[in-house]
């Protein structure tokens, strides 16, 4: 008797829990697909940015590792070859004609050839790359501090973001771009790297020039950088969210 009652109770509980979890799950999926709910969830990004910026000293350095810590294989994610004719030509020319332009809200727009950039004082750092997927890899990067370039072009006071325009396009022809806050351009470890592990940057890792912005996730590290544009607002560029991945729903503030 008692046993039967218990079995009945158990069946009832199981049924109820099963039904409830199904309803809850499809409810979550409906919320995800709505327009208002992701906008609510996204409020957390502003809170995260405000709190993280307030507890992190402006020039605090990301941990720098020893040469023995370097990953044997540094995975290349995202595009591993821009695949355009123009880029292919740069490859055959060994990037001798590659130029980096800095334009937008600056006193003196400038451009540098790759060779000229390599003449500037460089910084070398062995740092950890944290992919949004969850894995980490350690590599040794050499490049020119973005802050040094900024001091030469003199940003206008109302410039708020540096937008990095890339040479690659995705399968649908959408151009890659990424953006960071002006304040982060001056962080000592924010560099445009042209070497990985003492060798010229290879194509999968963003040859000839890619951003290293060590305090945020991997998708902020724009590859194949051709142009830096200083802007006051991110709307009107690409999908308006500040980067290729941001336009796909990833957070602009990628500190976590």
């Amino acid at each position: 008797m008692k046993h039967e009652r218990m079995m009945e109770r158990r069946r009832f509980l199981k049924g109820t829990l099963g039904a409830a979890s199904l309803v809850a799950l499809s409810g979550c999926d409906n919320l995800t697909r709505s327009t208002w709910f992701p906008a609510v969830l996204n409020k957390a990004e502003q809170l995260t940015e405000a709190v993280q910026r307030s507890v992190t000293p402006r020039d605090a350095l990301a941990k720098e590792y020893e040469a023995t810590d370097i990953s044997k294989i540094f995975p290349a994610n995202g595009n591993t070859d821009p695949g355009t004719e123009e880029y292919a030509q740069h490859v055959t020319q060994n990037f001798s004609e590659w130029t980096l332009e800095v334009v937008g809200m600056v006193q003196t727009p400038r451009s540098w050839s790759l060779a000229a950039l390599k003449e500037l004082p460089s910084r070398t750092q062995i740092t950890r790359h944290d992919c949004v997927e969850g894995w980490s890899a350690i590599g040794k990067w050499t490049g020119v501090p973005v802050g040094d370039l900024m001091r030469q072009v003199e940003p206008l006071p109302n410039a708020r973001y540096a937008v990095f325009h890339c040479a690659d396009v995705d399968d649908e022809g959408i151009a890659y771009y990424e953006s960071i806050a002006m304040v982060d351009c001056y962080h000592p470890q924010t560099i445009l790297a042209y070497e990985l592990n003492d060798a010229p940057l290879d194509i999968p890792h963003g040859a000839p020039l890619r951003l290293r912005f060590e305090r945020q996730l991997g998708y902020k590290q724009a590859k194949y950088v051709m142009k830096i544009e200083l802007v006051e607002s991110l709307s009107g560029i690409g999908g308006g969210k500040g980067g290729y991945w941001e336009d796909q729903g990833y957070e602009w503030y990628a500190g976590i």
């Binding site: 969830l41 993280q52 810590d69 044997k72 950890r128 949004v132 969850g134 894995w135 796909q248």
Partner: protein, 309 residues
Amino acid sequence: MAALIQSTGEAFRRVEELEPISAEPSASDSLRASDQTVSSTSSIERVYRHRLPVRVSHWVNVPFLIILIMSGLQIFNAHPALYWGDRSDRDRPLFSIRPVQTGNDDIKGVMTILGHPFDTTGVFGYSNRSGRAFPAWATIPSAKWLAMGRQWHLFFAWLFVINGLIFTAYAIASRHITLDLVPTEKDWRDIGKSVKDHLTFRHPAGDKAKRYNVIQKLTYAGVLFIVAPLIVFTGLAMSPTIDTAFPWLLTVFGGRQAARTIHFIACFSFVGFIVIHIVQVIFTGFLNNIRSMITGWFIVKHAGASHEA
């Protein structure tokens, strides 16, 4: 009965009859207020067991935790492998869940723990004709969608932390921790008996049921003050920005990938706790337990009343 309760140092409140109580007792200890009816053979006592802030923080945590676990599994699915140290050496993960192509166009789900593979087809690694570590029914969103999984996770992580901080502040101020959660000297002395009772599914009755037993205390305290902070701090240690502000996080946990692994273990400690907690709630008087967590009032049956097993 009254003498007995007072002799153990518990103040209690006696109400004439078993009548609904409109106002909440102002007693500082949740387990103190009680009213009871005495009949010739047995007595039923109503005990005010859980105070309002504890009940609220308990119930809001239910959806928070479920969402955090399920969106966390979505994030895990983006790179379903765990490592120790700072970097991911993909040739030697501690743990991985992968779809593996077998000879004849067949795909198996394989979970590998410290080098030992297990066939988990249908649940882990390959389910519903899709290669994914955790199945669609266990993740938020159900489809593979890392960006939205992160949005859910990082939003509810804030709510979980805020709820935890409010609870902790209240638990300290109201002495919930010292009065209800810290084992007494007697608890420690009787721990052997409590372990035996748990193993033999004997549950405390009568006056003993008014207070958490020692294993309960240790479990709740462990979840609240070890596992919950651990999951928050390992989560923070995965943040490259927070790592620059508090580099000691990497040192304490043994690297960013180690922190990710501990985060995952802490998550499954929560899952294990939740399962055992629900089983215990069901088997120690489901309605009484649920009522006490909703209204605060718990019924204790004294000698003569049937033993709730």
